[in-house]
Chain length 201, copies 2
């Protein structure tokens, strides 16, 4: 069992999580930070705060700013960005596949493919086709993983993941949690989380 | 008339604006950025979003995280931080004084004193005493400025400032606006705003 140094909590619907997902590899290789990818669903978290959709939709000024901010940050980080037509997208299927593969080596690669399709290319990632094509070449049996994604076991694991998020006081994504339980929220706090870990090594 | 390169929009009630207020001097001297301090009231902005108080109070998880984040950032920036008993504080009087002195050289020093009392020392800054003592030594006639703060002219200027905030799509504080109208929101975007300006010089 690997000791993880940083938990990366994300919902595929989050544009800021897209940016973090693309930046984690650099930190993993430059600082040797061992990251655990923690897919979860923001929907239930938002509902508990009384929101039926993303706050970026509920508060249009904030939403408009967010897209501009993401555009600027994408340039800053040298990553593609194309705004998808729909926001937030239905991420349940992709999230279930990620949960089914939560202990697999291919998990980060799969997640980055989903994020890239969604925010790099601006595509719809809600359906079977987008999800299965993100598995192809990464796993021997993509169809098998699609089946595993909808088993009762995976669904239960996803619900438990939500309970864990709540226990850890997570209220948005991306969130980063260190082994000593320190919570950092937002792509702009990734470096703070890394420094927190490095100072305690 | 000075040409301003960066507008710093703030409400005295914002802990993140406190952090930015303390960091602007460094940028002003190191990069020669000419900052215009723009006091305004967040209350009316929040009300338009349907909030009767700060979102940090409306969403307790987010609020709890914010205070922890401010505590960490204060250490990072080497500034004092003491959480005041009340949040958000009534900033109307201090804001009116700042509006009365919006073209005066003492404005930044006055604002930094208010912020320091409030979040550096954790004191109440809503009353006359805290406000007038923040003027002492900065202006010849503190009592005169206290009177000017409550004139119809100043009140009108403050309302117009709110209209300007709305026109500029400001939805929170601190916000930074460049001469070409680019909006940056949050203390963590101060450096982005500075870079934006420097690249265009």
């Amino acid at each position: 069992m690997t000791d993880f140094e940083l938990e990366f909590w994300f919902d595929f619907a989050s544009p800021y999580a897209y940016l973090s997902a693309g930046r984690l590899d650099d930190w993993m290789s430059s600082a040797g930070i061992n990251v655990r990818w923690m897919p979860f669903l923001l929907g239930p978290v938002f509902k508990k705060q009384g929101w039926q959709t993303s706050p970026f939709n509920l508060y249009p000024l904030k939403g408009k700013y967010m897209w501009r901010d993401i555009e600027r940050l994408s340039k800053r980080y040298d990553v593609c960005f194309n705004r998808p037509d729909e926001f937030p997208q239905h991420t349940l299927l992709a999230t279930r596949v990620a949960m089914a593969g939560c202990d697999e080596d291919w998990l980060p690669a799969f997640c980055k493919r989903i994020f890239h399709k969604e925010f790099g290319l601006g595509q719809d990632i809600s359906g079977m086709k987008a999800v299965i094509s993100s598995l192809e070449g990464l796993v021997d049996n993509p169809a098998g993983w699609m089946k595993r994604a909808v088993t009762a076991k995976t669904k239960k694991a996803l619900v438990e993941r939500g309970t864990e998020a709540e226990r850890k006081s997570i209220f948005g994504a991306p969130s980063f949690i260190t082994p000593d339980g320190e919570l950092f929220w937002g792509d702009d706090r990734l470096e703070h989380a890394i420094e927190w870990i490095l100072r305690r090594r």
